[in-house]
């Protein structure tokens, strides 16, 4: 099964909602949190997503629509 490693960054409102739980239920994706730091008003989570590639793609689009920033672990690749 293909997997992707991604970093979610969340703001205050998003921290209070179960985005990752819902991602795993709305889509056929297994989510596995590997590293995270969350404080009172923001946070980030590095996780592994396992599933069909287009399902992951759809899931990430949904997460982005919820207002969560999705980036690759290496940060932006496109450099100056």
């Amino acid at each position: 099964m293909p997997f992707r490693r991604v970093k979610f960054t969340m703001n205050t409102e998003l921290i209070q909602s179960p985005v990752i739980y819902e991602l795993g239920h709305k889509f056929e994706i297994v989510t596995n949190i590997r590293r995270a730091e969350i404080d009172a008003d923001s946070g980030w989570v590095i996780l592994e997503l396992e599933g069909a590639l287009d399902e992951i793609e759809r899931g990430l689009t949904w997460v982005t629509e919820q207002g969560c920033d999705v980036s690759s672990l290496e940060g932006d690749i496109l450099a100056g």
């Binding site: 940060g75 932006d76 100056g80």
Partner: protein, 409 residues
Amino acid sequence: MPNVQSLRCKECGRDFPQEPIYVCDFCFGPLEVNYDYDAIVKNISRESIQDGPLTIWRYDELLPASRDNAVNIGAGMTPLLRADNLGKELGLNNLWIKNDAANPTHSFKDRVVSVASTKAVEFDFDTIACASTGNLAGATAAHGSKAGMNTMVFIPANLERGKVLGAAVFGSVVLVNGNYDDVNRLCSELGDDRRWAFVNINMRPYYSEGSKSIGYEIAEQLGWRAPEHVIVPVASGSLFTKVYKGLNEFAQLGIIDSANTKMHIAQPFGCSPVATAFVEGQSHPKPVVPDTIAKSLAIGSPADGYYSVGIANKTGGSGTVVPENEIAEGMKLLAETEGIFTETAGGVVISTLHRLAREGMIGPDEETVALITGTGLKTLEAIEMAVETRTIEPTIRSFDEVVMGAALQ
């Protein structure tokens, strides 16, 4: 001589073999080259460095690839220039400019790509790749040519003509229809999918080490000491963290007495996640969507942002957000005082310097080095509105009227 012991996770400290990998399998922290300093200290000295070539490879004891295989088009040993005119303007009596626009493809990226491409050859890759809007594109394309490798340089199709051609001349540019996010995603997928040396993905631990050489050169050119302040333009934060690492390695190895340099972050208003995190007292920069004329600094999700904020804090440095309209002013000020035409990133640095001097963050006599990392010729559009020219008829009379007359007023 590579004195590399392992790649080490910056978060959990686990060691990994020297391979084209960049994240820790256990905690997903970034990997960094870990050296055998006990071996290095026996081999390195000021004299051994001075006997080396006039490129970054004079510091090869502290680089992760061998000088013998170096893909070398002459990166490094750029001038460190005394900047008394600019200093007078800003009230600084001890100011230096490190002019990295003097590199072969006119930016500091030649340093990192020289190391990345050498490593790519050592790892037996036949293809080297990057995604860039300018400086990295030119550096990768040129070193790929020199190395005789297949080269894939991905550029957003709507980039300015000059930048496209400046990289395309080396014969390896692929224009991608799409916005920055599209190019990022494509390259992340290609990075997973192809066995290529992607300079700032799977080569990143090695690539970024190349930037340490700026720190080494500054110390050597100052007469073997570290300055009190360095001002660095920040995009991903790689350069910033590695200049710091370079100065500290020199101190640790006894090549210089100490390194107590205050590290200052310079970012433009339209993309300042790292400087803003510093100012707001947060340790993790929040990703932003870049909108700045300093395109070479337009990284909204900076891989080394967190570490940069930490270093600025630890060293008593700072983070400055430069208003967009001060960028061209900074470029002009440097050009008019020191005869150096820098790109927008340099404008951000000079404006940051101006602010730090004004606010008393840098004392008048404190030794300060401002990093100029790229040339203005690649970003002509940025100063189009800021420069004035005078036009005359081909007669002495017209000259006297328009030019001398204006001078007399």
